[in-house]
């Protein structure tokens, strides 16, 4: 028998601090697999954001720079402008990217910065205790929407992939989920493609991953999987929104 599934080498041999059933771990693994697959570990510089994924540097066996809350795309821009031949990726939550960091993400995308951003959309602020995020669903109860998110006053959940897909600077924009094996395998492909875009100097690449936060959703990990299917995907469709063709693959 041949080993068909093992821990990616770009992930350090330590346990995650994430809560049981948290999808951050799956997403970390998929990014590490893409790095392994492209053999870019020693060329890669990760940018950690502020949120539950802040400890990126504990998990990835690559160089990592921490960024202030929401500023990862700007920090990534600075790193990439200096090291054009290195691979730079940012890993951001939905509070980080879609609230405080909206400006940085839109402009990095619009400049076509040759970086890759992995966007973890779990519809809440995980690290600070489950407050409303810009992506929180209408009616969703959070610690700061005790009566459920209402359009009046709170607005609609922000569709970041759709927004970014309108920008010419983006080489690749896709939304994926990791709530069943088929979705995980599709997510793996999309994340790999996003990194390939960067390797081929195609400009800004972006993958939004719908992610479960069982703790703040106050659900079992299994019910959280179902919520992704029943509530999130209908509003946040899984789709490749934009994809440029890599020239030598024409």
């Amino acid at each position: 028998m041949k080993q068909v599934f093992k821990r990616p080498e770009s992930l350090r041999d330590v346990s995650f601090h994430f809560c049981p059933g948290c999808h951050h771990g799956i997403i970390h693994r998929l990014v590490a697999e893409a790095i392994d697959r492209l053999r870019i570990r020693t060329k890669t510089i990760g940018i950690a954001s502020v949120g539950c994924s802040v400890f990126l540097y504990d998990y990835f066996d690559t160089d990592v720079c921490e960024a202030p809350h929401g500023r990862a795309p700007a920090v990534a821009t600075g790193v990439k402008r200096v090291h054009k031949d290195r691979i730079v990726f940012a890993f951001q939550g939905d509070g980080d990217l879609a609230a405080i960091g909206t400006s940085e993400i839109i402009h990095a995308a619009n400049r076509g910065e040759n970086i890759t951003v992995i966007f973890v959309n779990n519809t809440v602020y995980g690290m600070t205790g489950g407050q409303m995020a810009p992506t929180t669903m209408l009616g969703q109860h959070t610690t700061t929407t005790p009566r459920g998110r209402s359009f009046l006053g709170d607005g609609y959940p922000l569709k970041v992939s759709e927004l970014l897909a309108t920008l010419e600077g983006c080489s690749f924009v896709a939304r994926v989920a990791v709530n069943n094996p088929a979705n995980v395998r599709r997510a793996r492909k999309m994340i790999l493609k996003a990194f390939e875009m960067q390797v081929n100097n195609m400009g800004f690449s972006f993958v939004e991953v719908l992610s479960a936060c069982p703790t703040n959703w106050k659900m079992t990990p299994l019910d959280a999987l179902k919520r992704v299917d029943n509530e999130l995907i209908p509003y946040f469709p899984l789709k490749v929104f934009r994809e440029k063709t890599i020239p030598d693959k024409l």
Binding site: V4, F5, K6, S15, F16, G21, H23, V184
Partner: protein, 67 residues
């Protein structure tokens, strides 16, 4: 034919692998690891087909698969 190995020290007993295995070969057992989690265990090892669905879903990268 397949085989899986679960690193119970990494396992947090979330049950995602249990729900994923269509052959229903995994359950959360009585065994408690050093972090205090009841951990996943495989029964009926012989029936594993090595599809790796359980490993794909494990958020803690606790499962390795051979086929």
């Amino acid at each position: 034919m397949g085989r899986i190995q679960i690193d119970i020290e990494r396992c947090k007993g979330c049950g995602l692998c249990v729900a994923t295995c269509q052959k229903e070969l995994i359950h959360i057992g009585e065994k408690i690891n050093s972090h205090g989690y009841h951990t996943a265990q495989i029964h009926n090892k012989g029936e594993c087909v090595g599809c790796a669905n359980c490993a794909e879903m494990c958020p803690d990268v606790a499962i390795e698969v051979w086929r």
